[in-house]
């Protein structure tokens, strides 16, 4: 037990170091090239208020208004999606579950597409509609499950499927009626997911929502172990599983809806990162949730860095996460074949 504790602390420490290094290098990566000395000058000038040379002023602006918020957002989204994924897998006691299972992403996508074809100030409208329909989709799934109210977990999954298909149908209608030269491509690009539109305003919304949610999940991490034993056991151990499930679903839906509304669909993180964390430190949520959070941030920063620097034109980050995620998941399945759970 002592040995595994040490082991787990070492992994946590190494991942933290990796995250800091990756964050620093992400600040320098991309079309706007910033060297390390320039980075130091830019940050120092912000702190001390010292004047900087004209060549650096543009870089400084780009850094403070685009690069820096974008990297922070990558950390927020990676962490949020990964931890929500871990929570969902514990709630549904199913390794194949990702946070989209109750239709959050489908709802968000429909809302965003609707926002893109409606006239008006599209940018904030897209955000608001995406967020609203994401939450609406989850509420519908939970409402249907509540109406049926037997075998809560399997019914939740099935109602999620119902809602998901419904919103996908709505999305198809929107796509069909959109202008194929202008609106349809923007819907498709939006769905692929990208961090290029991130502003400070997004961060001021995303950080408190995700931060508060993750703190709560961390506090309840031992309860997640118990919930994964099933409802009867959880009740015998003095918990109220349905109330817990409700609270946890609501919080993670806020996190996921917020992330899809700002950055589009970024697949795979919620599915593979919890598996990676479990492979590294074991399934106890006390240990695996913090590692999941770190890994999520690292994976997202890496993916976004790659999206910015692989080609001269930016690639949607959703493509990178899916491209890397699928084989990694395959490898994890192979690696964990002896655990008796997969």
């Amino acid at each position: 037990m002592i040995k595994s504790m040490k082991n787990h602390n070492t992994i946590f420490f190494l991942l933290t170091v990796l995250l800091v290094l990756l964050f620093l290098s992400s600040l320098m990566m991309g079309r706007l090239e910033i060297s390390f000395s320039q980075l130091v000058t830019i940050i120092l000038s912000k702190i001390t208020g010292k004047e900087i040379s004209d060549t650096l002023v543009t870089k400084s602006l780009g850094f403070w208004w685009i690069r820096f918020p974008r990297c922070i957002m990558a950390v927020i989204i990676g962490t949020g999606l990964a931890v929500s994924g871990a929570v969902y897998q514990a709630l549904f006691r199913n390794p194949l579950v990702s946070p989209d299972i109750l239709g959050v992403s489908a709802g968000c996508t429909f809302g965003a597409a609707l926002g893109l074809i409606l006239p008006g100030d599209t940018f904030s409208l897209v955000h608001i509609l995406a967020f609203f329909f994401g939450l609406a989709a989850v509420s519908m799934a939970m409402g249907i499950a509540r109406l049926i109210s037997i075998k809560p977990i399997i019914v939740l999954v099935l109602s999620g499927m119902v809602v998901l298909s419904f919103f996908n149908a709505l999305l198809m209608i929107v796509k069909y009626f959109s202008d194929p030269f202008d609106e349809l491509p923007s819907i498709i690009f939006w769905i692929m997911g990208s961090l290029s539109r991130v502003t400070w305003q997004d961060i001021f919304i995303a950080l408190p929502v995700t931060g508060a949610g993750i703190i709560l999940f961390m506090l309840l991490r031992f309860r997640l172990n118990i919930l994964s034993l099933g409802d009867i056991q959880a009740k015998s151990l003095g918990m109220n599983p349905s109330a817990f499930r409700f609270i946890l679903i609501v919080i993670s839906s806020f996190i996921v809806a917020m992330s899809v509304a700002t950055c589009g669909q970024i697949c795979w993180i919620g599915l593979i990162i919890p598996h990676m964390a479990r492979t590294l430190v074991g399934p106890e949520h006390e240990k695996m949730l913090p590692v999941t959070a770190l890994l999520g941030a690292i994976f997202m920063l890496g993916a976004d860095g790659a999206a910015r620097s692989i080609s001269s034109a930016e690639i949607p980050v959703g493509i990178i996460t899916a491209f890397v995620g699928a084989p990694v998941f395959g490898f994890l399945l192979y690696k964990n074949r002896g655990s008796g759970w997969l």
């Binding site: 514990a90 074991g282 655990s339």
Partner: protein, 264 residues
Amino acid sequence: MAVKLECRSLKFKYGQTDILNDISFCVESGSFCAILGRNGSGKTTLLHCLNGVLKPCSGKIYINSLDIASLSQKNIAKKISLVPQEHIEIFPFKVIDVVVMGRAPFIGMTKTPGKLDYKYAMEALQNLNAQNLAKKNFNRISGGERQIALLAMALAQASKIMLLDEPTNHLDFNNQYHLLGRIKNLCKTNKLSVVASMHDPNLAMFFADKVIMIKNNHVIAQGTAREVMTMANISELYDTQTTQIKIDDNKSFFLPEAKALGKN
């Protein structure tokens, strides 16, 4: 002896179907009570009603004369533990990490188990001679070992009443007697009250102080094992003729009639 757990005119329905009707019994402190009945007679439902996992349609459950309807689920869990019949596949937890979950009712909502909780969990495993399981993957051990691990979890819960749903289900011939013997010992030494649903009337005969027979939603007989375990009652309960083989004055062994054994 003091009455520990009392069930008074309990009634339970799934939808329109009656499952349990007018069930009343008492379990004394430190006694082993077996519930016998055919498949689907409502034994599991009864156990789940006793610790508030299911809410009965009417009737009351008392622990130390305290109505459990007035207790929170957490406070019930401090007094009653349950070892379920089905073992679900879960995350690949180590056995010790499963056993320590039995401490949940004593750990604050936002806390994680501490050193002392792990100590209790280890003691529970040692109590069942199963300390060698501690570091094994719960999903990779046999059904019988899981049963023992879950029993250890209930022991770690340190409640004075334990509900066992077919505790010998996954156990081999030797382990059935071994495990029930251990439980029986705990009844004596720790003043633990046990309510166990059982399939084998012979095991009930050997280990139970009290036997409750359930058929067609009703209790058809209850009392000390010696009073209740008669050829007539058992034949009635299982709808088959039985043969009684006397072992000594107190104990008998029951077999279904020759036809059921395949002889002509």
